[in-house]
Each structure stands twice: as C-alpha cells, then as structure tokens.
C-alpha cells in the first residue's frame, strides 16, 4: 500500500514541476539559512574541554575600594597578583594556576631567518595538569622552577615544527626578545574552543605557541596581552603594577572534583575575603563568585550577539517559508479536487487520501533537506571567509547534518498537515457531479 501511495505522490509532484520546485526551494532556503546560523551558534557555544569542564572553576574576589561600590556590582573579571598568589599558596583545590597572555619577538638562531612575533602564555606550574594538556616530549616546569624564575619554555607542536622540524627539542634553546630560554617540553595539538581560560585575548583566539613560568615573565618584563585594570589613586609604573594588589590582570583556574569541594571552595573564598577585610586590604563586604567553565562562558556572554541575532532571523525566515509552503501545497492539492473525488468515490478512505498527501509533503521535505544542506554548505563556506576569529570552526558536523534533515522533514510535514487535512475532507459525490 505504501508503495502505491509513494507512486501516487511522485506522480502528483511531477504533474506540476514548477510548483513542486518552488516548494522544495522555499523549504530548502529556509532550512539552509537556519542550519547555517545554528551550526555557527553550535560551534561557538560548544564545550571547550569536555573531559574537564565540569571540574574546572574560575574564582573571583572583589578587592576594589568601597567608595564607588554600587549594590549589585559584579566583581572584577581578573585577580591581582597579590590575591592570585594568596589563593595559590592556600592551594585549596586539587590543582590551580594563575596565568596571563603575552607576546614576544622570537629570534631564530639560523642566520637569514627573520624574527617573528609569537603569542605566549605565562603561568604557574600546574597549568598542564589542570587543563590536561598532552605532552609529546618532556614535561612542564615545577613550582620550584617558577619560584626560582628559571628561563624554561614549553613549545606548542606547531612552533616546535617550525623551529626544530618536529624533532624532540628538549634541552635546546630559543631566543625570545633578548633572553634565551631552555626548552623543557613540547605539547601536542591543543586548541580549546572557545579560548575559555583567557577571554581577554579573544574568545575564539588560537592557543598560544609557547608557555613559560609567570614569575620569569614578570621578572624579565615581557610583553603582556589582554586587559589590566587598576583601581585606587596610587600611581605605579607598569612593572610595579604587575606585582601590586590593586591591578587586576591574572586569570585563575582551580580544579574541584566534587560538588562538596565546590561548596567548600565557595566558603573558603568568603573566609578569604573576610580575612583580607580584617587586615585592611579589602574594603567591600564579600562579593566573590565561583563559575564553572560553561557558567563562565555564559556569564561572559562569549557567543557574539550578532550570531544569536542571525539565528533568530533565520528561524523567522524558516517560519515564513513554512507558511508559504502551506499555501502552495493547499493550492496544489486542491487543484486536484477532481482526482480526489474520483478516488474517494472508488472507495479510498479519508485516511488513505490523508496519508498519500502527507507522503507527498514528506517528499518535498526530503527535497528541501537536500537543497537546504547544499545551501548551508555554501552558507558555511561564506561564513568561513568572514573576517572573524571563529570563522574556521564553521563546519557541518554529524549532529547538524541530522538536524538539517530532521528540521526539513518536520517543516514539510507541518506544512503538509493542513493541506492534506483539507484534501481528505473533499466529498466524493459532489466532485463527480461537476465533472
């Protein structure tokens, strides 16, 4: 029976190829626009580190002065050196690290190769274990090496490829600005997206090309990337600002393995702030936060407004396309009132007429899915050409592919319901009479 309906549906569709084409195109355009925008939203709001994102937390405290405090003010996004080091010393999490982005001119040792700028990450020792960064060769530095301000560096796979042709470079040296660093490790490809651990250098920025100890970077006065904001009226030189208790520029991440540990850490932050108030450093009553990775991305609204707006517009557009298809199908089905009347008179049930026409709608949906997928491939290729840092991620994955097919079928079936319903209510006798 199904095959017969399918055959009828195909015949029905072929009878008026222009109208059928219009419907497929309308659904296809709507699906194409929606899938393109949803795919972008999907890759931009993804989990940057699925293996650990639920155990990594970003603590905030509020060291600013009380004079300009408005109730409800959010605490600053970053920590001062003093607070970061205090939290680090107390070490209440399984692992923790304070960090900042930076950059330096790398001077290759080979003659005739021009120097170039590399992006760096300055951090305390735990960063590699904290973020599960995989090593190809060697290892990271220890807390003692950080404390001793040793000039050691961990290279990314890409930089190691560029500098040493990909071989094990542990023990070799590189020159950053006017300082020499000893390579102690090389990491494998590691590119969390979004760049969750430091949103100030770009929410979808590439991972840094080398890592080095935080204390070393401050000591050598190496270039810093990202934001620094200072409060209070004390004037300080850039070097003094870095180790001060009034300039906020460090990101801090802590690993807490259970909900209990999180609750304990929240209490610890409150106690810490209270203590800082007692000794006269903090002026505001406790105004701290503890966000998990996904909470932090949500709080910082990393998904650009533009992208969300595009999704809404695309969905509105899809609805218009569906309404439009309902109208066209209605016209198409009812144009065959005669057929339906004859079939009904020859004994076809309402149900079988309804099924037949819904099947026809479903076929339009399949056609719409094909057109829609092609259009979304074009759309995503266009997105990848955009001058935005997330452009490279705009690719269709399996879940988005399935969604496109599902969305298209759902859209066409919804569009087909009303026309199929109207078609199956056509009375047999009346139609025969007029012919």
């Amino acid at each position: 029976m199904f095959r017969y309906y399918a055959w009828l549906a195909v015949r029905g569709l072929r009878r008026n190829p222009v109208l059928t084409g219009l419907m497929v195109l309308a659904i296809g355009i709507g699906i194409g626009a929606s899938v393109t925008t949803i795919t972008v939203l999907h890759v931009l709001s993804g989990d940057p580190l699925p293996s650990k994102s639920d155990v990594l937390f970003y603590p905030q405290v509020d060291p600013e002065d009380a004079t300009h405090y408005q109730p409800g003010d959010q605490p600053p996004d970053q920590l001062t050196y003093v607070d970061a080091m205090n939290l680090l010393r107390d070490a209440r999490g399984k692992r923790q690290a304070a960090m900042s982005g930076g950059g330096a001119v790398l001077v290759p040792d080979q003659a005739g190769v021009d120097p170039y700028v590399v992006e760096l990450r300055y951090s305390t020792a735990d960063i590699f274990g904290l973020f599960d960064i995989p090593f190809l060769h060697g290892s990271g530095w220890t807390a003692e090496q950080d404390e001793a301000r040793e000039r050691v560096v961990v290279l990314s796979r890409r930089l190691n490829q560029r500098l040493f042709g990909g071989e094990n470079s542990v023990g070799r040296e590189i020159r950053l600005s006017s300082h020499r660093f000893r390579v102690i490790g090389v990491i494998d490809e590691w590119r969390p997206n979004p760049h969750f651990y430091d949103l100030t250098t770009g929410a979808y920025a590439d991972s840094e090309e080398a890592f080095l100890p935080l204390e070393t970077s401050i000591d050598l006065d190496m270039g810093r990337n990202g934001d620094m904001s200072c409060f209070g009226s004390e004037r300080m030189s850039p070097e003094e600002q870095q180790r001060s208790g009034t300039c906020m520029w460090l990101q801090y991440w802590v690993e807490l393995e259970s909900p209990d540990a999180r609750a304990d850490y929240e209490r610890y932050l409150a106690n810490y702030s209270e203590h800082q108030r007692e000794i006269g450093r903090f002026e505001r009553s406790f105004n701290g936060r503890l966000h998990s990775v996904m909470e932090w991305l949500d709080y910082k609204r990393v998904v650009p407004d533009d992208v969300q707006l595009q999704v809404w517009i695309a969905f509105g557009f899809l609805v218009v396309c569906i309404v439009n298809t309902i109208g066209l199908m209605l016209a198409k089905f009812l144009r065959r009132e005669g057929d339906i009347g004859v079939r009904r008179a020859l004994g076809a049930t309402r149900r079988s007429v309804f099924t037949q026409y819904l099947l026809e709608a479903g076929m339009i949906g399949v056609g719409g899915a094909v057109v829609g997928l092609l259009l979304s491939l074009v759309g995503l290729a266009a997105v990848r050409m955009q001058p935005v840092d997330y452009a490279g991620f705009a690719r269709l994955d399996l879940s988005m592919f399935l969604m496109a097919v599902g969305l298209s079928l759902a859209a066409s079936l919804i569009a087909g319901l009303l026309p199929a319903w109207q078609a199956c209510r056509i009375a047999p006798a009346l139609q025969l009479k007029t012919e």
Binding site: I29, H68, D114, P115, L309, V320, L328, A331, P387
Partner: protein, 401 residues
C-alpha cells in the same frame, strides 16, 4: 468597486487568505527589525574618525633593543620617516583609531568622585594633532616644553601630566552646556586642565558609536608601544608606505614591521564584520521578499483557476475586464492590509524582545509606513500576473459547462 462581495468570497476561503496575511505579518515584523539592524550598522560604518584618513599611514614595528635605547631610536626613526618624499608630517603615538589596542581611564570632574565616563588616552610624542589633521575648535596645541617623559610619571611624585586636549563630545559629556576650556578633570588625584578642544577623534575600537569620540590627548613622550603615523600629500600613499618601510630598515636592519597600512585599509578592515553582517541581512530581506511574492503568486493563480467559471459568469453578466482585474487587486490589497496591521504590532513585539536581550534601540515609528508601503507594492506586483490572467477569461466560459 464593492468591497462587500470580496469580503464574502474571502470568508469562503478563509484558510488561504489567513495564510497570506500571516505570511505578510511575519515578513513585516522581520523586515522592520532587520532593516533597523542594518541601518544601525551603516550608521556605525559612517562614523567620522576626526583624522585625515586618506592622507595617513600607520607603521608599527618591533625591535630587540634594550628599552633604555628606545627614545633615541624613536627620534632616529621619525627623522628617517620625515625624509621620505611625499611625507609632510610624522608623529608617534601608542594607539591609533581602528587599531587593536587601547589604554582607557575613568574621567571624573571632581577629585575622588566616581568617573563620569570612560575615555581613551592618546599619548602624543609630539606633533600628533597636526599629523592626524585634527581640527582645534578651542584653545591650542601643546608647546614643545610642555611634554613630559612617560617614565618620569612614575619615578617622582612631583611629575604629573597636568594638561590635555579633549574632544568636543567628551567636553559636552563632562560639563554639559558649559565651556570646557580651562576646566580640570581627574583620572587620579592630580587635576588635568583642558587647554584645547578638538572637533572629534574616535577611540581605537568601540561598540556604540555614541561612545566612540570620548578621547583625551596627553603631552607624554616615549610611552610604551609607540607606533608611527605619516601624513602624505602629493604622493601615492602605497608607494610612500613601501619607501617608509625601507627607510626604517635602513635605520635598523634587525627590525620587525608588525603592521604597515593606510588608514583607508584600516577602516575597511575595522568595519568588515559590520559590512558582512549588513550584506547578509540584506540578503535575508531579499530572499524573504522573493519567497513571500512566490507565495502570493501561487495562491492567487490557484484562486483564479478555481474561479474561472465564476469569472466567466460575471463577464457574461456585463462585468468589464477592468472590473475583474481590480477585483483581484483589491482582494490582495485587503489581505496585505490585514497582514501589515498585524505585522506592525508584531514588529514592535519583536523589537521589545530584542531590546531586552541585545543592545538594540527602540524601533523608530517611520519604519512601519515604509514597510507597509513596500509590502503593498510587493503584493500588487505579485498579484498582477494572475489577475491579468483572470481578466482574460472569456465570458463564453460561463456557457460552456
């Protein structure tokens, strides 16, 4: 033309009429809001930077010098750049409009008071106002002896900036309705006197165009991260840029040129995201109009086909061809009007929702008649072909059945 019979026959095919009206309403709501977003983007792209963009070049370099040598190096570089043919003015500053880094401070009008507004700081290494081509509307430029060294700001407590040139927009924000010249503002404990006011100068990067011209220029030499600005006249900017790069390499061979571009390019790059977004939205509007028009054509053709006999009867009873044509046009007008009426409310509903979730302003009222008129025109154009077909139905058709 009687409306009554049209309404009557519309009532008989409610579903299709409601579908078209609904589609028009949705299209109206989407088009109004999308157009509004596009216009906001266009406004942003039109912003006056205050600088002589077509005559300006920017070069950012990096060297591996000891920081102590920097002031000397800067002076040598500037002299070399000034000597490039076609260059009329050179300056060095630590940030530029359409650039990617900026240094900002909260500005208060009384010591210790909360800041009125966040402004950006340009540290003028000398000759900045003239090189950028800023227009002084009050006061004067800095005198050579008024400049201080960036490092001195931190070595002694006695040294502080003390004076600045600000933009008219910042002056109006700090002291609304009062002359700003000679008044003092605060970014820390020391007062800073306004000695000059420029027409406008935008901050390096901005979201809301209203916040863009909040800039302060300080007479501070040798700030970290200086980049060079070249004003060119009577020469091809791109050619001058190449010569300037060569000149800089001659001064110091191991130099890294990080950025070298004209401000025309920088503006283009800065607004590329906005332009792409605007184009995309225009594309959506066009696609939406096409889909809506196709829907109207499809349904109207269907109606015409269904009513062929009815039309034949009317023609046989004496209705003119024009009357048939007008019948379908008026019918379409009524449906679109219903759709537009509903669309206006939903346009405001959508706008209110967008305002809540995104940084969007209230939709100006004049968008509504514009959208209404364009949808009416669209409806009339779409219905024309089916209506013409209806008009050509011969009266004889009535007798044939």
């Amino acid at each position: 033309m009687e409306i009554q019979p049209i309404l009557k026959s519309l009532r008989r095919q409610k579903t299709a009429a409601i579908l078209i009206a609904f589609e028009i309403a949705l299209a109206c709501a989407i088009i109004c809001n999308t157009l509004f977003v596009i216009v906001a983007r266009m406004d942003r792209m039109q912003i006056d930077s205050g600088i002589a963009e077509t005559e300006l070049l920017r070069i950012r370099t990096a060297t591996l010098d000891d920081p102590v040598d920097k002031p000397l190096r800067t002076a040598e570089d500037l002299a070399a750049l000034q000597a490039v043919p076609g260059v009329v003015d050179v300056a060095a500053v630590q940030q530029v409009p359409f650039g990617n880094s900026s240094w900002n401070s909260g500005v208060a009008v009384e010591r210790g008071a909360p800041p009125v507004v966040g402004a950006t700081n340009y540290f003028d290494n000398g000759n900045l106002v003239k090189t950028l081509g800023l227009k002084l509307v009050a006061g004067r430029d800095f005198q050579p002896e008024e400049y201080i060294n960036f490092q001195d700001l931190f070595s002694t407590d006695e040294t502080f900036v003390g004076m600045a040139i600000i933009t008219q927009a910042l002056a109006d924000r700090l002291w609304p309705g009062e002359p700003a010249l000679g008044k003092a503002f605060y970014t820390d404990t020391d007062p800073i006197r306004v000695i000059g006011i420029v027409d406008t100068l935008i901050r390096p990067s901005f979201g809301d165009p209203g916040d863009a011209p909040m800039s302060v220029i300080y007479p501070v030499r040798h700030a970290p991260g200086l980049e060079y600005l070249l004003r060119v006249r009577g020469a091809e900017p791109d050619a001058v840029l190449k010569q300037a790069e060569v000149a800089l390499r001659d001064v110091h061979p191991g130099r890294l040129i990080l950025h070298a571009s004209t401000f025309v390019e920088m503006r283009e790059r800065f607004f590329r995201g906005d332009r792409v977004m605007a184009m995309l939205l225009i594309g959506v509007i066009v696609a939406l109009l096409i889909v809506t028009a196709l829907g109207i054509v499809g349904l109207a053709s269907f109606w015409v086909q269904r009513r062929r006999r009815q039309i034949g009867v009317r023609r046989a009873l004496g209705a003119t061809r024009g009357a048939i044509l007008r019948y379908f046009q008026l019918e379409n007008f009524l449906i679109v009007t219903a759709g537009v009426a509903a669309g206006m409310f939903s346009a405001y509903g959508v706008n209110a929702w967008l305002m809540q979730h995104y940084e969007l302003e209230r939709l100006p009222l004049y968008y509504l008649p514009v959208a209404a008129v364009s949808l009416w025109v669209l409806g009339q154009l779409s219905v024309l072909q089916p209506a013409l077909r209806a008009m050509r139905v011969p009266p004889a058709l009535a007798t044939r059945a």
